[in-house]
């Protein structure tokens, strides 16, 4: 790779690493796996950078690679996680305001746990639309499907997420 291209990739990777890791975390629900997904995606991107860098929207390509990497990873036998029933650990942040921290923690864990109950592709659509704030056409590009499919997956995902939240709020705690 030429030096200019390499520098371009380095800048892009530094700029996008955090974003990709956060998105990956919402996909998989685990920071370590998210870190691996981000690294693997950037590695794939590096291999294809000579084809990608001239494109206007490298970010969209990176999201697509990340999504594919996660879906591929999820299909692997050793990634097939079983559904586990149990109490979420009570993790308190002693440095924060106890009341605020408790409320944030509850909301965070609630959504995270509920999100993990949503089927993978619907989960991906929800993350891309409501976390990345992408328009439907860009989500469709990242997902490799039509805009109509994105809309229907969004609707189904929201229904599934709300149902999961209701279950969790009712006291049935489900974690990945």
């Amino acid at each position: 790779m030429r030096e200019a291209d390499e520098q371009g990739f380095r800048d892009f990777a530094v700029r996008q690493a955090g974003v990709l890791r956060r998105t990956a975390y919402l996909f998989c629900g685990d920071w370590h796996t998210a870190e691996d997904l981000m690294q693997a995606s950037l590695l794939k991107l590096y291999q294809a950078w000579h084809r990608v860098h001239w494109r206007e929207n490298a970010n969209a390509y990176a999201r697509k690679v990340l999504l594919r990497t996660w879906l591929d990873e999820k299909r692997r036998p050793w990634r097939r996680a079983e559904q586990r029933d149990g109490e979420l650990p009570d993790v308190a942040d002693a440095s924060a305001d106890p009341e605020l921290a408790s409320r944030q923690l509850w909301a965070r864990e609630l959504v995270r746990a509920a999100l993990l109950e949503v089927p993978p592709r619907q989960r991906a659509v929800l993350v891309l639309r409501y976390f990345e704030d992408l328009p439907v056409n860009e989500v469709a590009l990242a997902m490799g499907c039509t805009e109509g499919t994105v809309k229907s997956q969004t609707a189904r995902g929201l229904v599934a997420l709300r149902a999961a939240v209701e279950r969790l709020e009712a006291g049935t705690v489900v974690a990945s």
């Binding site: 955090g18 959504v111 409501y130 976390f131 929201l158």
Partner: protein
């Protein structure tokens, strides 16, 4: 849960993000390593494919070269032979090639020579097929089977389809003029300038009217060349004569039998 609440909750969900320890140089180094490894794998794959293709195609290429040698420019002249039988023949002697490959190569060379010689002595005919092969003929009183080169020329002349048979072998006690005349009704014997002899014979089947004339050249180097012509088509298995006389006359048989291009190695 509204969409706005969902957005806010998703942002909160990543609020406890651990510090990012990302080293782009390490990633690039790993990428380069993977790229080199992939290139090496591709190179090894290509080399393996090329090697496999070479191994698989080599016999065909060598076969083609042998054919090319057979069809190559004229190199050998039969300087020792009588003037009437001197003819330029193509090809080289494929010595040093082991086993069946050597047999095949010799047969191809002889086939090519036979084609040239035949065209010269039978100008008004159209050759349909020339087949030459080396066979092992069991010989009485010999420990091992005697090798013999057997050629067939199928051609079409004014009377139709005909066939000539040429047998080239080493002379043995069973393949001498006396034995030849014991099997065949010898008609005449022509001494050649080089001291060799050509004996003509005829085999007649009274019942079917089939006639085979033969010329046997007992050469001084121990080679026996025998040429047969028929008034029927042996390949078709015809029981009766298909033409007034044999497909070759004595002169043509003599020319073929004495041609030095037709010999053994």
């Amino acid at each position: 849960m509204s969409e706005a609440e969902l957005r806010e909750c998703l942002r909160d969900a990543v609020a406890d993000e651990p510090p990012l320890d990302f080293d782009p140089d390490a990633l690039i180094e790993r990428g380069e390593h993977l790229r080199k490894r992939r290139r090496a794998l591709v190179a090894v794959g290509v080399a393996t494919l090329a090697l496999t293709a070479t191994v698989l195609t080599l016999p065909g290429v060598l076969g083609g070269q042998r054919s090319a040698q057979v069809a190559g420019p004229p190199l050998i002249t039969t300087a020792e032979s009588a003037p009437s039988s001197a003819v330029e023949v193509p090809g080289v002697t494929p010595t040093g090639v082991p086993g069946d490959a050597a047999k095949t190569a010799r047969a191809e060379v002889l086939s090519s020579r036979l084609r040239v010689t035949f065209a010269k002595f039978f100008p008004r005919t159209k050759v349909v097929e020339i087949d030459v092969k080396e066979v092992e003929e069991p010989a009485a009183g010999q420990r091992a089977a005697m090798p013999m080169t057997f050629g067939t020329v199928v051609f079409i002349d004014d009377y139709g389809r005909a066939e000539l048979n040429i047998a080239i072998s080493e002379q043995t006690p069973m393949r001498d003029p006396v034995q030849f005349c014991a099997d065949t009704a010898c008609e005449k014997r022509l001494p050649q300038q080089d001291g060799s002899t050509v004996t003509f014979g005829t085999i007649i089947d009274e019942a079917s009217g089939r006639i085979t004339v033969t010329a046997a050249h007992f050469r001084r180097d121990g080679v026996l060349v025998q040429v047969n012509a028929h008034n029927f088509d042996p390949a078709q298995g015809t029981a009766k004569a298909t033409r007034p006389g044999p497909a070759a006359d004595y002169d043509q048989l003599l020319l073929l039998a004495t041609d030095r291009a037709l010999t053994t190695w």
